[in-house]
């Protein structure tokens, strides 16, 4: 698999060096990617201290897992986002399980956050992300919301249905149609 773009290429080279225990490359990798990953963790967890924890745990895992990273399975940023997401969802589940305000805070903030709302400046996005942002706009807001709840908050079909007060079959269909539409939209953009 060839890199999609220069950023992939740079991250790939950094990860190859990190796999060989190169701490300087690891620091560069952190500097280059942590703002995006921290922003993402904040979206999942809404709270700075929890998002910091997710990024910290994710980078410790990235250091240890880099030798096993395989370019042909996922571009570097996709691989790193997947690790951050796993750590963040784990912290989320723990926070929700702990009795107390964490749970209320997080769930209240979920309700406020529109998973589809993007950054103010589209010019700062990569081409892929810009295409995704445009394609997300073609979805019905309820489809976006359901996909966001599943991906960003780790909710099951049943949980999404309960939050939206809808039958589970309806939610499944929305999510499925939303994803297919997203993919078709992205593929059209990729075609010349």
């Amino acid at each position: 698999m060839i890199p999609h773009n220069d950023q992939d290429d740079q991250l790939y080279r950094l990860l190859a060096a990190v796999a060989m225990q190169d701490r300087q490359a690891f620091r560069t990798l952190y500097d280059v990617t942590s703002p995006q990953l921290f922003g993402f963790a904040l979206r999942v967890l809404h709270r700075e201290n929890l998002a910091e924890e997710a990024v910290r745990d994710a980078f410790v895992s990235i250091w240890h897992a880099a030798p096993g990273y395989q370019m042909h399975l996922a571009p570097p940023l996709t691989w790193m986002v997947t690790i951050v997401r796993n750590k963040a969802l784990h912290i989320r589940r723990r926070a929700r399980a702990d009795a107390g305000d964490d749970c209320l805070d997080i769930e209240a903030a979920d309700g406020l956050a529109d998973p589809s709302s993007g950054p103010a400046d589209p010019a700062q996005l990569s081409r892929d992300a810009r295409a995704l942002a445009r394609c997300m706009e073609t979805l019905a807001s309820r489809q976006r919301q359901a996909i966001g709840m599943a991906y960003l908050h780790g909710l099951s079909h049943d949980e999404v249905a309960a939050r939206l007060e809808l039958p589970v079959g309806t939610v499944k269909t929305w999510i499925r149609r939303g994803l297919v539409r997203l993919r078709d939209c992205l593929e059209q953009r990729e075609a010349p």
């Binding site: 950094l14 490359a25 703002p35 922003g39 370019m71 998973p115 993007g118």
Partner: protein
């Protein structure tokens, strides 16, 4: 239930795609998720479909406003990587002595090198395709500067040096094979510090060799036959092709 039915999964592109998307999104749960993971193990095409969905969804992370984490996050990462007192540094070529190193890790690094080399080979069209072993040697910033190919059929060691490598006129680049126990073996100096073709020394491709490295030495090579005296500029591991 259709999810239990493997032939149905093999024969239905629509079902494969739906389950792959649910797997990547995280809504495929419990037994269904575990069964799907079993199928993925034996079905590379299915893994590719999942990877496609993971990539599309991961781009969602880019839609968030970037936020620089406070400095304490990096400090905490460093503490986790070096718990307690910072131990004396292991020489860089003995990285497998660290507790995270595994044999498969070395292999995976090799695979990474092979990929890099494939990317580089576009700019190096006459690289012999039948070569058996290949190594991409990178600097501390992980820029690949040299590609070394062992051609056992011809008994040659082909060394390609990137254009941007500049060596002071009174110095020379020396190539080393580093064994798993950390012992360097000289494979020779690079005449003129440019791409060259050396006789293949069997010690270069011994299974015992973990890494190749380039050091910067006086004109006639390292005065110490047992190892580099100058700085090690580039290193990389062998990958089998």
């Amino acid at each position: 239930m259709i999810l239990r039915d493997l032939p149905a999964l093999r024969n239905s592109p629509a079902l494969r795609d739906r389950l792959a998307a649910e797997y990547a999104l995280g809504t495929l749960r419990g037994g269904a998720r575990r069964r799907f993971e079993t199928w993925m193990r034996d079905d590379p095409a299915l893994r590719d479909i999942v990877a496609g969905w993971q990539e599309r969804l991961a781009a969602l992370a880019e839609l968030d406003l970037p936020a620089t984490p406070p400095a304490r996050v990096w400090a905490a990462i460093e503490r986790r990587l070096d718990p307690g007192v910072i131990p004396p540094r292991t020489p860089w070529w003995q990285f497998w002595h660290s507790d995270v190193a595994r044999p498969w890790g070395v292999l995976a690094v090799g695979a990474c090198a092979a990929w890099l080399v494939l990317a580089l080979s576009k700019t190096m069209p006459d690289m012999a395709p039948q070569s058996r072993q290949i190594a991409a040697l990178s600097d501390a910033q992980s820029h690949t500067a040299l590609v070394v190919t062992a051609d056992t059929a011809r008994g040659r060691l082909d060394v390609r040096v990137a254009e941007e490598v500049h060596v002071p006129t009174d110095r020379t680049l020396q190539l080393w094979a580093i064994t798993r126990t950390g012992k360097p073996r000289s494979l020779g100096i690079l005449p003129g510090n440019r791409s060259t073709d050396l006789a293949l020394d069997a010690r270069a491709i011994d299974p015992d060799v973990a890494l190749l490295a380039i050091s910067l030495e006086p004109k006639s090579g390292s005065p110490d036959p047992t190892g580099p005296t100058g700085p090690v500029l580039y290193k990389g591991s062998w990958a089998n092709l």
